[in-house]
């Protein structure tokens, strides 16, 4: 299990295929939805990332089919990818907890108030 932080596009792609296998276009749509439209993966960029994640063993080809004359390949997380994503989620959760704790320690009072 890696403890290194992931780049955002990578973690979003892993997240997109975490609940169920998805094909390329569905991944781009999920990524867009999860990031509130902030991250748009274009075809070439997405395909590069998928190839890299396949090579790294983070995702695997779940199925290959032809729909409406188009080759469609769906991708799913491997156990290694699942562990990587879980570690990333844990890292983000720990950061969020720490941030909330520190914010709670210092709560500024109303303006002009004295101790």
């Amino acid at each position: 299990m890696t403890r290194r932080s992931l780049q955002e596009p990578t973690s979003l792609i892993l997240c997109a295929v975490a609940d169920r296998p998805r094909h390329g276009y569905a991944i781009t749509q999920e990524v867009k939805k999860m990031s509130d439209g902030r991250v748009t993966l274009r075809t070439g960029t997405l395909y590069s990332a998928l190839q890299r994640l396949l090579e790294d063993g983070q995702i695997q080809v779940h199925s290959e089919e032809t729909v409406s004359g188009r080759a469609r390949r769906t991708y799913a997380l491997t156990p290694q990818g699942r562990a990587t994503l879980a570690a990333e989620a844990e890292r983000l959760r720990a950061t969020a907890v720490e941030a909330e704790r520190r914010l709670a320690v210092h709560r500024p009072g109303p303006k002009g108030a004295t101790a």
Partner: protein, 332 residues
Amino acid sequence: MTEAPEQARTTRLLRLYPASYRREHGPEIAAIHADVIRDAGRLVRLREAADMVRHALRVHLCLTSADGPGRFLAAAAPYVLAVVCAPALFGLLGNSTLWADGWTAQYWADGGQTADRVVWLVHECGTLACALALLCGAAGRWAPARMLAMFGVVALPVATWVFEADYLIYFRYLNRPLLATSDILCPVLITLILLCCPKDLPPVRVRDRTAIAAVAVASFLTHTLAWATGSLGEMTWATQTLWGLEALAPLAVLAVFLFAALARRGRSARFTAAGVATAMLFWLWHDYGLLGSVPYGGLLAGTLLGTAVAAAAVVRRRRHTTRSNGPAASGT
């Protein structure tokens, strides 16, 4: 009926890929592309087409994030940006003191050639762009950081060549072809590294951002201290030490990151180590004059690098020994 022109366009785009790659991956890329551009506006279609052209070019050059060279560029980019842009923070301070002293106002009031003024202005803008690139890089905003750094690195040489070519040819480069090659090659290579870094592997991880911030802070602090001490006019051992620190600080910071990368295992760590080493080479290339001004500068730099490599080797050996002793120890 509307399928035909779209399909023809996709087929034309696919032809840009190498034949073997197209045979293996073409149908899937075409399927994703067709889904994405379905019901999309003209702008989205153009962006998609541009992205596929870029991707095809990357596949030809083995620069996708799945290829070794692409990963190497992604690993090298933040460190290269850091060493190239770090002096700009002190440059800004220097420029601001010139403004404060009224030197700049006097320079403009005195008149002079338009070309000189343009080059001066480009230099100021380039320095500001590099400083902003550092801030954006340290904040994890890679896209603006990359653009600003490229502008900062390229703008001044281009402006100088455009407006002061005579000076460059007859006074700087005459009988010094190596210097000319170096002056042209250095910004070109830096731009290529920043430009070719794969889009889906932006160097925005904590480690990348820390490296950019650490090199920038080390460079700024040591430059400022050395400058402040030097301006007192007394040459003491402290001044000389500060000048040495000024010259070696970025290298020392990079040595720490080199040690960290070499001490780790795995493919990613190897790319990071190669990236840090590349940035060190750029730093030596860029600032070899500064290093040469320090007594035993080369020796000190070599010692720093040697220490980082040796320390990493020791850590790896210890880790290896612990791992190989582990099962035996637990079995007893």
